[in-house]
Each structure stands twice: as structure tokens, then as C-alpha cells.
């Protein structure tokens, strides 16, 4: 169902999305020498929740200004890896990276000298369930800037408009900026969360199954938005919907049981996967 309606929406066809990626290339997770377009280097990362190991030796490079999709069955560690990228896992007791490095702009983000607050300003996040604050639409979007000390009304107004336009929401809600965000529809709320994330001008946006709670039409809108956003932002998206991965992403990583099984251009993953498990998963023959 999702496929049909999303396809009929004016979003680019799968074929056009699967255009080749030139410089960041690797097959089966072996990174090529660093190219300037690499936004995040994930290098041999192990991750544990207390005693149980959730990620094993993950190595992959995420290309700048492209959409990278993480796919795989439930519980394989997609969200865990995603939340490592902005250290959201710090909030969970006993959760930690036990080995390896994650580098952004050459800096290991788990280095003790790293300021987590600054990291999260540069690596924004959109969650599975839309989570606007119980405040007005305006206050939701300006929250990130206000806590950074921005109080200039004109500047805030400008950012609100820019972010809402960026999230393709401006025309729908420009007349009710001061109403509660909780009064919007589910799809609007999720796009508001995206607007809120881009308002602080991050470089990277992480999305954890952003459409899983949305209906097909809202999903199509968000997918279209993702396509527009990659002109400015590096996007990493977790999805369990393979058609969605095929539609929106440039590169796809397939995970299974906490291991990276295959990482390549989306076209390759879906058309000629090198690994038999990947092949089984993308063709829907997976347990």
C-alpha cells in the first residue's frame, strides 16, 4: 500500500534515485581512502548495553549530502548505531562504545574533550514517534536557538519561516504559528520535528524510522522532503520499509544481529547484492 501511493506521488522514481555515487565507494563495508565528501567515519565500532553486545565491529563511511539508509530486521542494531552518531546513547545507563571510533571532521566524537552539546547541535535527530514539545509551533522551532541564547525576535521569526519552508510546512501552518503543536496532524507533527531539527542548522540529520507512524500520504510528503533536504544536509535514515530505502537513499547498509552485512549503493543492494542474506532480506524471503 505504502509503495503504491508513494509511487503515485510526485516523488522521483526508484531508477532516478539509484544514480551512481562517485567518490565514496566501497563494497561490503571496506572503506576506500578518505575522500572530502565523507561526513562520518565509523571505524570498527563495538557497542554494549551493560553486558550485552549490540554492535560488532561496525565499519562504514557516510557520504556528505547524500541519504544513507540503515536496513535490517528488528533488533539488529540500526537504532543503536544511529544513536551512537550523536551520542544519544549517553542517556542510557550502562550503554557505551567499547571499541573503535566514530569520527566527524576527523574528530573522534567519543574523545573526552568533545563537547556533547556542540556535537548534538551539529548532528540533529528526528525520532520514530513525532515528539513536538507541548508548546506552540513557534516555540517548538525556536527552542534550539533560544537555549543557545538567541533572543532577537526578528532573527527568530526569520528562522521559523526558513525552517518551516525547508520542511515544506510553511504554507500549511503559517497562520497558526502560536497555536499548540499538539493540535497538528501526525504527518505535520513529524515535519515540524524535522523543521525543529533544521532550525539549529545542523550538518547531519539522523532519522529513526521517521515514517513508521504515518499514513501513506504523509509518508510520501516526508520522503519528498528528505529528497530536498539532502541538497543541504547529510542524512542518515533508519527504515524497515525496503521500498522507502530504495526510493529515498543513495547508499544502503544492511545489518543483521549487530553486524554490518553489506554496504553499497542502494541500486547495488537492491539489484545485485553480493551477500546471500542481503539478497534474502531485500527480496522479502527473510525469517
Amino acid at each position: 500500500m505504502v509503495t503504491a501511493s508513494a509511487m503515485s506521488a510526485p516523488s522521483p522514481s526508484v531508477q532516478s534515485l539509484l544514480r551512481p555515487v562517485v567518490s565514496v565507494g566501497s563494497v561490503n563495508g571496506a572503506p576506500t581512502p578518505l575522500a572530502p565528501q565523507i561526513a562520518i567515519e565509523i571505524d570498527d565500532v563495538d557497542f554494549c548495553y551493560g553486558a550485552s553486545k549490540a554492535l560488532h565491529d561496525i565499519t562504514l563511511n557516510i557520504a556528505a549530502r547524500q541519504v544513507t539508509a540503515f536496513i535490517g530486521p528488528s533488533g539488529c542494531g540500526k537504532s543503536t548505531l544511529l544513536r551512537c552518531l550523536n551520542r544519544m546513547n549517553d542517556l542510557i545507563d550502562g550503554a557505551r562504545v567499547t571499541d573503535g571510533q566514530i569520527r566527524i571532521d576527523g574528530v573522534n566524537i567519543y574523545d573526552p574533550r568533545v563537547d556533547v552539546i556542540e556535537l548534538r547541535k551539529r548532528v540533529g535527530m528526528v525520532f520514530q514517534k513525532s515528539n513536538p514539545f507541548p508548546k506552540s509551533i513557534y516555540d517548538n522551532i525556536t527552542y534550539g536557538l533560544r537555549i543557545q541564547g538567541e533572543s532577537n525576535k526578528a532573527r527568530l521569526d526569520e528562522v521559523v519561516e526558513k525552517s518551516l519552508r525547508g520542511a515544506a510546512l510553511w504554507d500549511e501552518i503559517k497562520d497558526r504559528l502560536h497555536e499548540s503543536a499538539l493540535g497538528m496532524s501526525g504527518g505535520q507533527q513529524q515535519r515540524l520535528c524535522i523543521a525543529r531539527a533544521i532550525a539549529v542548522e545542523p550538518e547531519i540529520i539522523l532519522m529513526d524510522e521517521p515514517c513508521s507512524a504515518l499514513d501513506p500520504i504523509a509518508t510520501a510528503k516526508v520522503e519528498e522532503l528528505i529528497h530536498d533536504l539532502k541538497k543541504q544536509f547529510t542524512i542518515v535514515i533508519v527504515t524497515h520499509n525496503m521500498q522507502q530505502a530504495a526510493r529515498v537513499s543513495d547508499r544502503t547498509a544492511f545489518f543483521y544481529l549487530g553486524k554490518l552485512i553489506e554496504y553499497a549503493e542502494t541500486k547495488v543492494i537492491f539489484m545485485q547484492p553480493a551477500n546471500a542474506q542481503t539478497e534474502a532480506y531485500v527480496s522479502g524471503r527473510f525469517g
Binding site: 547541535k121 514517534k129 515528539n131 527552542y143 533560544r146
Partner: protein, 549 residues
């Protein structure tokens, strides 16, 4: 067919028989389910009935207060006590002025001995002129005092006779009522006993003539007093010290005011109408807005709730002021910051506070806290704190500290619940936008939990205002309305409370007397306050559930 056979062999009934074999009840024809249902239904009904009965009884006993107070106020007027009180006020003003003079003298004496280093005897000698002045001022009231005394004697005698006649009337009614079911001989005996009792009907108008007869003497006394004051003020002593001189001039102003008051009082006494009826509203207002709570007085009893209500409120607000930051901060800390180990220790620990019996806390308040607070207040370096040094060791602050301790578990638990109900996703969203933990707490968590926290505060307030033992032991129990205009020092002036007065006086009060009913009225006020608080808290919590979704 074969299936049925198989079932039978397994001890199962055929479907048809199984469906139709509803068992008969095993307990008075009721099945287990029915029995349980009626059991719970019965318990719920009993609780509701008991609650209803309690409410009804309290209100019934309280409502009787209004007519009784009405009667009491009527006698107060008819017997002329009200008239005498008008006059008494004038004399009170005069003695206030005498006290003022005494304080001026004390200041001067202090100056002479401490600053100028005079020996006590020398200092006294210097003050001789002033003392002479003060004595002559005090003497100007002698005549009035005599008159007030005579009037007081006259009207109290009348009131006494009225009380006796009321008592006799009640006794007589008892006798006559007892006759209803008695044997003829016994009835005759009772009748005779009743006949002996004569109820005196007092002619208040006639009695009051004797008080009125004193009017010319009062007028004469006033005239001579005003003349004496004028003469006295002409020769008032002068001080070299500017501060003292200013106080003396202020005193002259008082005297002028007093001379005017003498006239006003005379007019009021002339205008006073003995036969003006007391309104029902007036007898209710005497309770609701009355600033005096005086019982078992030879003169007139007053049942005004204001000193008790304001005492209770003062203590409750102070307690909240202490408990609120502590309780809410602890809740925020435990829920948002503490590690699981800390949570496991802190939560039960705070909740354990509510297990301390309040009498133990009160005892601690008397034995330790009050004394410690007073010691601290006597440290000279702390003199700048309003109300320091404290005169009394038991005062609203002592009580409020302990009450805060009792309110903290309530506020803590409810606020922690409210914070816990804030969806985790709000917190994650805030962190993901680069907010610090403190920013997240202040801008997201606390506002989202605010209505729950407000409800917690309200219920904490309810807990505090209904608490009895601690205030009875530690509030100082002096019946006086805290004078908020006199500054912050008021929080160290002893007060009495609504709960305290009920606990203290209910035991020795005569059943169904006006005093007894007045205490029930206080109970009703407490009851209404608690009701209001709980209702508000529920309303807030309901709105909060809706807003969070």
C-alpha cells in the same frame, strides 16, 4: 459420534450438557462472583453512608451556632455591655498613651546610662521631671476609671441575672418534659418542683436607666480631663536630644487626637440604641470576620475565626515556602539526575518521613528546634534579620519547619509522579537539539509536569493545614491575628490555629453550648478548605492528563 465418545472417555461432558449446567449458588443462593460483587458494593455503600453521616453531624452541630450567637449578642446589647465597651475603648487609648510615655522614658534612661555613663541613681534624678509629667498624665484618667468600674458592675449584674434566669428556664423545661411519661404521683411531684422555679423576666430598659443616670458625671469627667490635659501639655518637658524631642511632639499629637476621641465617644454613646435588633447576618459575621476569640470570659465571649484562620494560613504558607523548593527539587533530582542506586535510596527515605508520628515531630520541635532557632536568633551578627532575636521559642516558624517536613513526602511523591509522566521523548528531543540537562529540566520537563506539580503543592497545602499535633505543640498557641503590616517579624509571633483550638478546647467544652458549636463551625471551615483544595487539585490533574495526552 466418535468425538462424543472420546470426550466422555476423557471425563468431559457433551457440549449441550456442559452449557446447561450452571451451578446453583453456594452462599445464600449467590455464586462466588455475585458474593464478591455484593461484598464490595456493601463496603463502598457503608463508606459513603459513614462519610455522609459525619458530614451531616458536623454541619448540624455547627449550624446551631448562629442562633446561639445571635442570642448572646442580643444580651450583649440589651444588658448594655456594648455601651460600656464604647466607653472602654476611650480608656484603652489613654493607657496606650501612658505606655508610649513609658517607652520614651526607657529610651532616655538607656541613653543616660549607656551613652553618658550616669549611675542609675543619677539617671533617675535626671528623669524626675519627666516622671512627674508622666504621673500627672496617668492621673488624668482616674475619674473615668471609676465611672467605667461602676458601669461595668451595673451591666454585668444585669447580664448575670439574665444568665441565671435562662438556666432556670432550661431546668424548668426539663422538669416539664419529664412529666410526659411519669406516674401521676411522680408527675405531681415534678409539677411542684417546677412551680417553685420562677423565671425572672428582666426589664432591660428599666435596668439600663441606672447606667444612663451616670451620663452627666461622664460628661463632667470628660470636660475636666480635657482641661487637665491642655494644662499639662503646656508644661510638657523638653528634650535636648532631637529623636526624643520628636517622640515627645508625637505624643502631643496623640493627646490632641485623644481629646477629639473623647468627643466622638460621647457622641457614639449618645447615639447608641439599646433596642436596635441584632441582624442574623451580623451574628454570622461576628464569626466569619470576628477578630476576637475569647471564651469563658466574665464579660462577653467572642467567637471570631479570623485569628485562628490567619494563624493556620500563615503557618501553612510558611511551611509550603520551605517544603516546595525542597520537595520539587528532590523530585526533579531523583527522577532526572540521580543514578538508579541513588533513586533506590532516596525515594524510600523521603517517603519514610511521613511515617514519623506527628507527636514525635512536635516533641522534637519543642525540645530541639524551637530552642535552636532561638539560640541562632540571638547571635548578635544576625540582628538585621526581621524579628530577630525571637521572643518566643514556639512560634509559627518552628511549627512551619516541622510541617514542611511532613509536607515534603506528599509533594515529593506527587511531583515525582508528574515528572515521571512526562514522556521520555520530550527529554530526548530536547537533548538532541543540544540542550543541557538543566535547560531540559527548566524548559521542558518542569513546564510539562507543571499542573501535576501544582496539584502536588495543593495537596501538600491540604496536608499542612489539616495537621493538628505539631501546631498544637509548636505554634505558641496565643490567640492573636498576625499583623502582617508590622513586617516580617510576624512569623516569629506565636499564633493559634483552627486545628489546634479544636483539639485544645473540644475536650473541656460543655456539650451543645455555644462554645461547643463554635468549635464545630471552625471544623466546618477546615472541612470546606480541604474540600476546595482536593477539588482544585483534581481539576488541575484532569486538565494535565488531557494536555499531555
Amino acid at each position: 459420534m466418535s468425538a462424543t465418545t472420546e470426550n466422555r472417555s476423557l471425563g468431559r461432558l457433551p457440549t449441550r450438557e456442559a452449557l446447561l449446567q450452571k451451578r446453583r449458588g453456594w452462599f445464600f443462593g449467590m455464586s462466588g462472583d455475585q458474593f464478591v460483587k455484593y461484598l464490595f458494593q456493601g463496603n463502598a455503600t457503608i463508606s459513603i453512608i459513614v462519610l455522609g453521616l459525619i458530614t451531616f453531624t458536623i454541619f448540624r452541630d455547627a449550624v446551631g451556632f448562629i442562633p446561639m450567637n445571635h442570642a448572646s449578642l442580643a444580651v450583649y446589647r440589651l444588658a448594655g455591655l456594648e455601651y460600656v465597651d464604647i466607653y472602654r475603648e476611650q480608656l484603652t487609648t489613654h493607657s496606650t498613651m501612658s505606655r508610649y510615655l513609658a517607652s520614651v522614658r526607657a529610651q532616655k534612661l538607656d541613653q543616660l546610662m549607656n551613652k553618658e555613663g550616669l549611675a542609675p541613681a543619677a539617671a533617675m534624678a535626671t528623669l524626675a521631671e519627666f516622671d512627674d509629667f508622666a504621673n500627672r498624665f496617668a492621673d488624668t484618667i482616674n475619674e473615668q476609671e471609676t465611672l467605667l468600674g461602676s458601669m461595668t458592675d451595673l451591666v454585668t449584674a444585669v447580664k448575670e441575672r439574665q444568665t441565671v434566669s435562662e438556666d432556670i428556664m432550661v431546668g424548668k423545661q426539663y422538669l416539664l418534659r419529664a412529666m410526659a411519661g411519669a406516674t401521676p404521683e411522680r408527675a405531681a411531684e415534678l409539677q411542684r418542683a417546677a412551680d417553685v422555679l420562677t423565671v425572672e423576666v428582666i426589664d432591660f430598659k428599666a435596668e439600663f436607666q441606672r447606667v444612663l443616670a451616670l451620663r452627666p458625671e461622664i460628661a463632667a469627667a470628660n470636660t475636666s480631663q480635657v482641661a487637665a490635659l491642655k494644662a499639662l501639655m503646656a508644661g510638657a518637658p523638653k528634650f535636648a536630644d532631637s529623636d526624643l524631642q520628636r517622640r515627645m511632639e508625637k505624643f502631643q499629637g496623640f493627646v490632641q487626637g485623644y481629646c477629639q476621641e473623647v468627643e466622638v465617644t460621647a457622641q457614639k454613646m449618645a447615639a447608641w440604641d439599646q433596642s436596635k435588633p441584632i441582624g442574623w447576618l451580623e451574628s454570622f459575621n461576628a464569626f466569619a470576620f470576628g477578630r476576637k476569640w475569647v471564651t469563658a470570659s466574665f464579660w462577653q465571649d467572642w467567637y471570631g475565626i479570623i485569628p485562628l484562620l490567619s494563624g493556620s494560613l500563615l503557618i501553612a504558607f510558611l511551611a509550603l515556602l520551605i517544603a516546595l523548593p525542597l520537595g520539587v527539587a528532590a523530585a526533579v533530582y531523583v527522577n532526572q539526575v540521580a543514578r538508579p542506586v541513588e533513586q533506590k535510596i532516596i525515594k524510600p527515605y523521603i517517603e519514610f518521613i511521613s511515617a514519623i508520628p506527628s507527636v514525635v515531630l512536635g516533641f522534637f520541635g519543642i525540645a530541639m528546634l524551637g530552642e535552636t532557632l532561638r539560640r541562632v536568633s540571638q547571635i548578635p551578627a544576625l540582628d538585621w534579620v526581621p524579628g530577630f532575636p525571637m521572643a518566643e521559642r514556639l512560634n509559627p516558624t518552628t511549627a512551619a519547619c516541622l510541617l514542611a517536613l511532613m509536607a515534603i513526602p506528599t509533594i515529593f511523591s506527587l511531583a515525582e509522579d508528574a515528572i515521571n509522566n512526562v514522556p521520555r521523548s520530550f527529554k530526548e528531543a530536547s537533548f538532541a537539539l543540544g540542550a543541557t540537562r538543566l535547560q531540559t529540566i527548566i524548559h521542558i520537563i518542569v513546564p510539562a509536569a507543571l499542573s501535576g506539580i501544582m496539584a502536588a503543592i495543593l495537596l501538600g497545602f491540604g496536608r499542612v493545614i489539616g495537621e493538628t499535633m505539631v501546631v498544637l505543640l509548636c505554634a505558641g498557641n496565643r490567640i492573636q491575628t498576625p499583623d502582617l503590616t508590622s513586617g516580617l517579624g510576624v512569623i516569629f509571633q506565636p499564633v493559634h490555629t483552627m486545628t489546634g483550638i479544636i483539639a485544645q478546647e473540644m475536650g473541656e467544652v460543655v456539650r451543645n453550648s455555644i462554645h461547643y458549636r463554635a468549635l464545630f463551625m471552625v471544623g466546618v471551615v477546615l472541612f470546606l478548605i480541604s474540600l476546595l483544595i482536593n477539588w482544585l487539585a483534581q481539576k488541575i490533574v484532569r486538565r494535565y492528563r488531557i494536555s499531555i495526552g
